[in-house]
């Protein structure tokens, strides 16, 4: 007891605490924990003043310093019941800050809330309402609905508006409250007090956003407010509400478009003007003249000096763009200039608009300019740009891409932008395109090679995923490679030790594929080509254009799948010569300096290749990463076998003598396995696999995860199901002149690298792999941003106005699409039960269902209403699904209201909102006496019964009179 007096006398006030914290800046945590100890002691005091100060300090510390105060919940409840206003205020603030659904003592506040809501002091009522609006639980909302109902028609505006606003929380916690309170809430739309009206519109706006359909019958009320009100806050809400209602009811849209345009023209408030603009472009977009006016207003916003208005203008433009491209065209200069605005919001928004404009006609140009912007931008915006290009281009299985060679090269270029952090996405797309678009594979392999061969790229961790994809593509489609030896060197270069293990595993596997390809080509095709009757064409191709050899090999590979060389050697030879002719035509003009020579697969070169692999992979066979170790050992094992048998392989009259040798057979098997094509996998493929009997999937696999955690393969494609190769010739895409240039450049890079590290083929030491390479691609800073802007203006002008598709030199290649489920299935939207209950209740009230009267008339009898509420909650559950508005016309569609109405004898009142009727209701509702209100409902009921038969006939008009 003594300590309690001491506490009260020497207690620090909140101000002392704040001063203390400011004085003890350096030892703040200690000071706060010491103060918390004080508070813990003081809060137990029997003196309410001491308790209140302690609680006030605690709330302060909790709100601003994140201190936990859940332990003090009971003290909060205690202090709530103090009769002193100051204490109550502190307690309610503390409750609003710290109570939540799981605070069990909130049950104890029911009585106190009831008392304070009924208080004669409006400020006490207001405190309680404030707290209630934040912490009301379903229990509290149910218990206190009668009090809120009474307060809804309070004569004091300061209470009335708060009672209206609190409804939102009550409805969200206890939807059945709508059966009691909804009509009074609607009456507040006609309140003479502007604050109450404003609050009511605020509530309806929130409700309509969640479930617009239920509030359609109130459209006449809202319309009246839209036309009559002079308060901008109210008008904004009204416009917002119509933005939600108009799309549901075309006649309503027709009606409101004029007043909304009127406000847009005349209002001086930018906020209201912008709201009208937004509503027109989102919900009334089919009204041409309204949209035109909105675009004029958007233009005003765009040229405003205020960056806020400019930002919002751009946002509105993004919304208009998909349907009205002309709106963007009219403002394109502003949009493009905004791309280099100082404000990141504005930059981002203009980027979005540009991406909306992208189509197959202009994707190449827009991407080009954007990539140039990206090179010069700060890292964040750079990645925004890259991200939007990637997502726009891959949208709907690369819908807008006509020229995949171009796109694949773009992906390669994007990878080399220094700030690029989109590795994962680029990786995915490279592999995805490889699997889906056969015609893009040649270019993919080229791009992949250029990436792999550049040692500088290995130093950038953001690129590792891309390199993984490049390695996979090069291995999988090695038959398109001009120079498999060079590829092998790139895959095995010492700097790959910079890569994470999972990606090195992909490298090793790709090297394996390349090896098999080389051996297979060496064993089975060189000799056939060599002894095939050398036609003049063939001769030309071999002498003039040695590069085409690899292409021949590629074609041969494909041939291999058509004809088994062992079974029908003859026909194979014929076909291959034909192929050679074809290829010569396409390749004859192109000099390919960096490609494989005529004698690419010689005994010697194969021997070198084997040595190279052995030296590079040798150390990896001891790797601690199991995935690398295993793959490396597989390769090494094969090489060992080959090396034993290779000397036995002798050339005999152009053909190999390979009796008694095992490895050619192995190579052939491996080659067959690797040339089985991998296809894209539907996202829901796994779901369609039936679960075998006895397989328990729900067991805890925690320990397994720990074991397998490390060897997740980066390439998901490794797990895809093999799609049997469709037996057709791969059309060889045209190659471009500049590609050879690029390849010589990177070859020289590699050569330089070799010079630098003399011991290229030896395993590297750790110091050897330091990141001493210059960035792959220095941004060209001298370029002027404005030039780019001009370029873009020009090109959009061309490409957007151009109505005709430009003739492409070649048709769009086939893109493999799966019939279903290319995208992950969108999880079925879960209906929110409470919202459903609420809209059910609201509809019941609006359609004049008798359920209202039953629960309302029971207001005085609390226990029964409580029980009823519970019952209703239960019965409403199964009938969850939201019905379409039209269904309301059909009373037997199984919605809660109709079901209940059956019990009550078809008491549906349809022509509910006719003005005459409304007046009557208002009269009736004006009487605040509860008993009278129940009496009113008796009258109500009887009238409904009288009108019953008529209702059956007049079914449709839900928004009567007003619209028709």
């Amino acid at each position: 007891m003594g300590s309690s007096i001491m506490d009260s006398l020497f207690q620090r006030s909140l101000e002392d605490l704040i001063k203390g914290i400011r004085l003890n800046l350096l030892t703040e945590p200690t000071f706060i924990s010491k103060s918390t100890d004080d508070i813990r002691r003081e809060i137990k005091s029997t003196d309410l003043h001491t308790k209140s100060v302690a609680l006030q300090k605690l709330t302060y510390l909790s709100a601003l310093y994140g201190l936990d105060m859940s332990w003090a919940a009971f003290h909060v409840v205690e202090l709530m019941s103090s009769s002193a206003f100051a204490h109550k205020k502190i307690a309610y603030l503390a409750a609003a800050h710290s109570f939540h659904a799981a605070t069990d003592v909130s049950l104890l506040t029911t009585h106190q809330f009831r008392k304070d809501l009924n208080s004669a002091n409006p400020f006490e009522v207001s405190l309680a309402l404030h707290c209630f609006s934040i912490i009301a639980t379903p229990h509290l909302a149910r218990e206190l609905t009668p009090e809120i109902f009474t307060l809804l028609s309070s004569s004091k505006p300061s209470i009335g508006k708060k009672a209206v606003a609190v409804i939102l929380r009550v409805f969200s916690q206890y939807p059945d409250a709508a059966r009691v309170c909804f009509k009074r809430l609607v009456e507040n739309l006609e309140s003479s007090d502007p604050h109450t009206l404003s609050a009511a519109m605020g509530v309806f706006c929130e409700l309509a956003v969640k479930d617009p359909k239920s509030y359609l019958p109130l459209a006449p009320e809202f319309y009246r407010i839209l036309v009559d009100s002079r308060n901008n806050w109210v008008l904004i809400k009204a416009v917002k509400i119509f933005g939600k209602l108009a799309p549901l009811e075309p006649r309503l849209a027709m009606r409101v478009v004029e007043p909304i345009c009127e406000y847009m023209r005349k209002t001086g408030a930018k906020s209201l003007m912008f709201e009208c603009v937004r509503t027109v472009v989102t919900s009334l977009a089919e009204y041409e003249s309204a949209v035109k006016l909105a675009v004029v207003k958007i233009r005003e916003l765009l040229v405003d000096d205020d960056s806020n208005l400019k930002y919002l203008g751009l946002q509105a433009l993004t919304v208009v763009a998909p349907k009205h491209l002309w709106a963007v065209l009219e403002n394109k200069e502003v949009v493009i200039k905004s791309l280099s605005d100082a404000d990141p919001n504005i930059k981002l928004e203009s980027l979005r608009i540009l991406m909306v404009m992208v189509s197959e006609r202009n994707v190449a140009e827009i991407s080009r300019v954007l990539v140039n912007y990206a090179i010069k931008s700060d890292p964040e915006f750079c990645n925004e740009i890259l991200g939007s290009i990637l997502s726009a281009c891959s949208r709907n299985v690369y819908e807008i891409i006509e020229d995949f060679d171009w796109y694949v090269s773009l992906l390669g270029e994007m990878s080399r932008i220094p700030h690029c952090q989109k590795g994962e996405e680029i990786e995915h797309q490279l592999i995805d395109i490889g699997m889906r678009v056969k015609d893009a594979r040649l270019q993919l392999v080229r791009v992949g090679r250029d990436l792999l061969i550049d040692p500088a790229l290995l130093g950038n961790p953001f690129l590792h995923r891309i390199l993984s994809a490049a390695a996979w593509v090069s291995g999988e489609y090695v038959e398109f490679s001009k120079n498999p030896f060079e590829l092998m060197e790139a895959l095995l270069q010492p700097r790959i030790s910079l890569l994470p293990p999972s990606i090195r595993a992909v490298y090793v596997q790709s090297a394996f594929k390349v090896l098999i390809f080389c051996l297979h080509s060496y064993l089975f095709y060189r000799e056939t080509i060599a002894c095939s009757p050398s036609s003049p064409d063939n001769f030309v191709s071999e002498s003039k254009c040695p590069g085409s050899d690899s292409a021949i090999v590629a074609a041969d590979c494909q041939q291999d799948e058509v004809f088994n060389p062992r079974a029908s050697n003859q026909s194979f030879e014929d076909a291959s010569t034909e192929d050679v002719e074809d290829i010569t035509v396409t390749h004859a003009q192109i000099p390919n300096s960096a490609s494989l020579g005529k004698d690419g697969f010689t005994h010697e070169s194969i021997g070198n290749l084997l040595n190279l692999i052995e030296v590079a992979l040798g150390p990896l066979s001891g790797s601690r990463e199991v995935e690398i170790q295993e793959r490396a050992r597989n390769v090494l094992g094969l090489i060992e076998l080959i090396k034993q048998e290779l000397p036995g392989l002798v050339k005999k009259e152009g053909n190999f003598e390979r009796e008694g040798l095992k490895f050619p057979k192995i190579i052939e098997l491996m080659h067959d396995a690797f040339s089985k094509e991998l296809g894209p996998v539907a996202a829901n493929a796994q779901e369609r696999v039936p679960i075998p009997d006895g397989l328990i999937l729900r067991e805890n696999l925690g320990d397994l995860e720990m074991i397998c955690g490390n060897d997740q393969l980066p390439t998901s494609s490794s797990f895809s199901f093999g799609i049997p190769h469709s037996k057709e010739k791969v059309g060889l895409p045209q190659s471009k002149g500049e590609s050879s240039e690029a390849s010589t450049e990177s070859t020289s890079l590699l050569a330089e690298h070799r010079k630098l590290h003399g011991l290229y083929y030896l395993p590297s030491e750790k110091n050897d792999v330091s990141n001493d390479y210059p960035p792959a691609n220095d941004p060209k800073l001298q370029d002027n941003l404005n030039d780019d802007a001009k370029d873009l203006v020009k090109l959009t002008e061309q490409s957007l106005l151009q109505k005709k598709k430009p003739n492409h030199a070649k048709p769009r290649p086939v893109v493999v699409k799966l019939d279903e489920g290319d995208e992950a299935p969108i999880a079925a939207k879960k209906l929110e039960l409470k919202e459903d209950l609420l809209s059910g209740a609201v509809r019941d009230v609006l359609l004049g269902n008798e359920a209202v009267s039953t629960s309302q008339s029971n207001l005085t009898d609390k226990s029964s209403s409580k029980r009823r509420g519970k019952e209703k909650l239960n019965t409403d559950h199964p009938s969850g699904p939201k019905e379409v508005l039209g269904d309301v016309g059909n009373p037997n569609m199984g919605n809660p209201s109709s079901r209940r109405s059956k019990h009550h004898g078809h008491g549906k009142e349809r022509r509910h909102r006719s003005p005459r009727k409304k007046e009557k209701e208002r009269e009736e509702n004006g009487q605040k006496d509860k008993q009278k209100s129940s009496h009113r409902h008796n009258r109500h009921k009887s009238r409904q019964r009288a009108e019953g038969p008529n209702n059956v006939v007049t079914q449709t008009p839900l928004i009567p009179d007003f619209l028709l």
Binding site: L14, E15, I18, L48, H49, Q56, Y60, S62, A63, L64, Y65, G66, L67, S83, A84, F85, A86, H87, K89, I90, L93, S98, H100, A120, N121, F123, L129, H130, S133, I134, I135, S158, K161, K162, A165, V166, L168, H195, A199, G202, V203, C205, E206, V209, W233, I236, K240, S271, F274, E275, S307, N308, K310, Y311, L312, A342, D343, N345, I346, L348
Partner: protein
């Protein structure tokens, strides 16, 4: 509705926080830190909106204003108008200015509970209820009178305490 109101200084120290949906204190602190992280990286004279989806979840926007050493931050959803929210910050600051005569950060530091009284008059459960600073002042003065009255009453025996009678 308005989801949260945060006043913090330019060092990221919160001075007033009000969340209209329950949020555990640690979570509140984390959100405040993230908001500060975004705000302090923004230059002067750029637009006052920030995309808040990544911080506060889908369908949220954030508008802020920078006065002297303080940031005033409102977080809200699509039921509110962005420019109206900007005006509302202005209303709040004007009211504070009238209340404290040339408001500065220290006023806000030391008048924590009065700040809540003012804010509660303007925003109720996430809904805007009052936009006239004169009206807000009137209500706040009356509440302060009640508070001091009830505080002095508690010093005398409880049986007498009594405007309620």
């Amino acid at each position: 509705m308005i989801r949260a109101v945060i006043v913090m200084n330019t060092q990221g120290k919160p001075r007033l926080t009000k969340f209209y949906d329950y949020m555990p204190p640690e979570k509140q602190q984390e959100l405040i830190r993230r908001v500060f992280g975004v705000l302090c990286s923004r230059a002067e004279n750029v637009s006052n909106f920030v995309e808040a989806d990544s911080v506060f979840g889908p369908d949220t926007r954030l508008v802020y204003k920078h006065y002297a050493t303080l940031y005033f931050v409102f977080v809200f959803d699509s039921s509110e108008n962005e420019l109206a929210m900007l005006d509302l910050i202005q209303v709040l600051v004007e009211t504070l200015d009238k209340c404290f005569k040339n408001v500065c950060e220290l006023d806000i530091v030391f008048n924590y509970s009065k700040l809540h009284t003012i804010l509660d008059e303007i925003i109720f459960g996430g809904q805007v209820l009052e936009t006239s600073s004169a009206e807000v002042m009137k209500a706040v003065e009356e509440i302060s009178r009640l508070e001091t009255a009830s505080n002095t009453i508690t010093l005398v025996p409880k049986s007498i305490s009594g405007w309620r009678s």
